[in-house]
């Protein structure tokens, strides 16, 4: 298939369709409305179904139902709506169902604003809803990567029977870039038939009970440990990371994800021309977090700079990775304000020169 110029939101919708998703349930919220709008037009063309739910609470329970019936299903929202979906996500994780959820993050807390932010990192990677569960979290930095990760997300969700979150921001949703959908794409994981799905019991298999209720504490503990083993397998097998310049020599390592990493990428260009040596590690999977890659790259630097559109959330994982071996500094903007390459470059220069250790 030839390259097309597409908005990130639309590319993610199309990616879901290319991945065989025929069901979308969602509720309007800025800045991600292009996803439901695209799906409402596109799904009927491929025999699929679009439902505008009455709320994000309902949408998250509709995907629970559809996934339990064995079908690939997508929802998308933005930060406040994702908060409302946390109930459904906890049940989906507890019931071990595969769903894909796109969060086009906006600035918070509360109603916040509608401009890009990365304030939902904790919510996405550390649970969000109640109980002891994890979502696999993928953070694209380009429209092409968004399309690729959405397709992978469906395979990962099915393989692990677990919700997969795509964590983007207003930039990735709104921007247009060339996208290519490969006609010969193969699933990124081996996929087994969904024999566990609720499709009507005819006596030829155990009854399908889609459930997260375990009143017997021993049974629930076994369930918790089974989930934990699954998350451990994700941590072993599903780390994704991209690195820029870490094979060379550098003074400062910048860690950033999503579109902020694009800004860092430009800053690194400017710094290189100015003779300042810096490199970047970009976590693509936020859970599992690529601790080893960050630690390895950090050990070669004299300072680490974490850049986020928040007051500092991923920095906690970076600190865990670095284990105090190298000072970890922070640069961020909030409220929908963006970091510029100039902001990043200036801070890197300070750190390379041994200044700015006050942060």
């Amino acid at each position: 298939m030839a390259k097309k110029l597409m908005k990130g939101a639309e590319a993610m919708g199309e990616a879901a369709i290319q991945a065989g998703c025929r069901l979308f349930f969602g509720y309007p919220i800025t800045p991600q409305n292009e996803i439901p709008e695209y799906m409402s037009a596109r799904l009927p063309q491929v025999g699929g179904t679009f439902v505008q739910a009455e709320s994000e609470v309902a949408a998250s329970n509709m995907i629970y139902g559809a996934a339990g019936a064995g079908e690939r299903v997508l929802t998308s929202s933005s930060s406040p709506g994702i908060s409302l979906m946390m109930e459904g996500l906890s049940y989906i994780a507890g019931s071990e169902l595969p769903v894909v959820v796109i969060n086009i993050m906006r600035a918070g807390p509360g109603l916040g604003g509608i401009l890009p932010a990365q304030g939902d990192y904790f919510q996405a990677t550390k649970g969000g809803g109640h109980g002891d569960y994890r979502c696999l979290v993928l953070a694209p930095w380009s429209v092409q990567e968004a399309a690729d990760l959405v397709q992978d997300a469906f395979d990962l969700a099915d393989y692990y029977r677990n919700p997969v979150l795509i964590l983007g921001d207003g930039l990735i949703g709104q921007m247009m870039e060339p996208v290519e959908f490969k006609a010969d794409r193969r699933p990124c994981k081996p996929l087994a038939p969904k024999t566990w799905a609720s499709t009507g019991w005819k006596g030829d298999r155990p009854r399908a009970i889609i459930n997260s209720l375990f009143l017997d504490p021993e049974a629930l503990e076994r369930h918790n440990q089974k989930l934990a083993a699954k998350y451990a397998a994700m941590e072993r097998d599903e780390k994704r990371v991209a690195e820029v310049g870490t094979d060379g020599q550098y003074e400062v390592l910048v860690v950033a994800y999503g579109t902020v990493a694009r800004v860092v990428y430009t800053a690194l260009d400017d710094l290189r021309q100015a003779g300042v040596r810096a490199a970047m590690v970009r976590p693509v999977s936020l859970f599992p977090f690529p601790y080893e890659a960050v630690r390895r790259a950090a050990e070669k630097a004299k300072a680490v700079l974490v850049a986020e559109l928040s007051t500092g959330q991923m920095i906690e994982d970076v600190r865990l990775a670095v284990e105090g071996r190298v000072p970890v500094h922070f640069i961020g903007r909030q409220g929908g304000m963006l970091l510029t390459p100039e902001d990043i470059a200036a801070r890197v220069r300070e750190l390379a020169a041994g200044e700015g250790s006050h942060a």
């Binding site: 110029l5 921007m175 963006l338 390459p341």
Partner: protein, 187 residues
């Protein structure tokens, strides 16, 4: 040139998002790396509207550009907002049909385009955006004129009457951008 980045700004309805997309699309057709990023949200409701287009030989870094190498401004609020941000030595395409103040910067190159007047003269009053786009392309060579003309043909393929009108508008802009045409308008 490794990278062209341009902010195109005007009133909602002047077609700035459309010409931005056409520019990005032309860049993609030339196998360059491109990105297009719009203003969105309350900014867009009723007021000014803008988009940023980056065309590069290398993967595009930030799709949002603090100090663009060119700006195309179709109305006064856009000139006020983006003129101070234009990179030193950059290109300022200013729509003199609607903007009656002189640019204040003396460290940038100014291409004055009476975009609306030319569009009206061509009996294509909605084509001012194409004139301005032409002036930018003629002046910078960010994409080839031929490829952009193909994009115009494809964009308006459903409305054949508009193809020729917009090609004419674009070519008039190109001529101004190249400095081949005076800014005199006969209409």
């Amino acid at each position: 040139m490794a990278q062209h980045d341009v902010v195109i700004a005007g009133f909602g309805g002047q077609g700035v998002l459309l010409v931005g997309k056409m520019l990005a699309y032309a860049g993609m057709r030339e196998n360059k790396e491109v990105s297009w990023f719009p203003s969105y949200g309350p900014e867009m409701r009723g007021g000014t509207c803008n988009c940023t287009v980056v065309i590069s030989d290398r993967p595009v870094g930030s799709p949002v550009v603090q100090h663009p190498s060119a700006i195309i401004v179709l109305n006064l609020p856009s000139l006020d907002k983006f003129e101070p941000l234009l990179r030193s030595g950059g290109l300022l395409c200013v729509n003199t049909s609607l903007i009656h103040r002189q640019p204040r910067r003396d460290d940038v190159r100014v291409v004055a385009v009476p975009a609306n007047d030319i569009a009206i003269e061509l009996h294509n009053p909605r084509g001012a955006n194409m004139v301005a786009l032409g002036a930018y392309v003629g002046s910078t060579g960010a994409v080839s004129e031929r490829v952009l003309e193909e994009v115009i043909q494809e964009t308006f393929a459903g409305k054949p009457g508009l193809v020729e009108a917009n090609l004419q508008a674009f070519r008039r802009g190109v001529a101004i951008g190249r400095g081949e045409s005076t800014q005199e308008v006969t209409a």
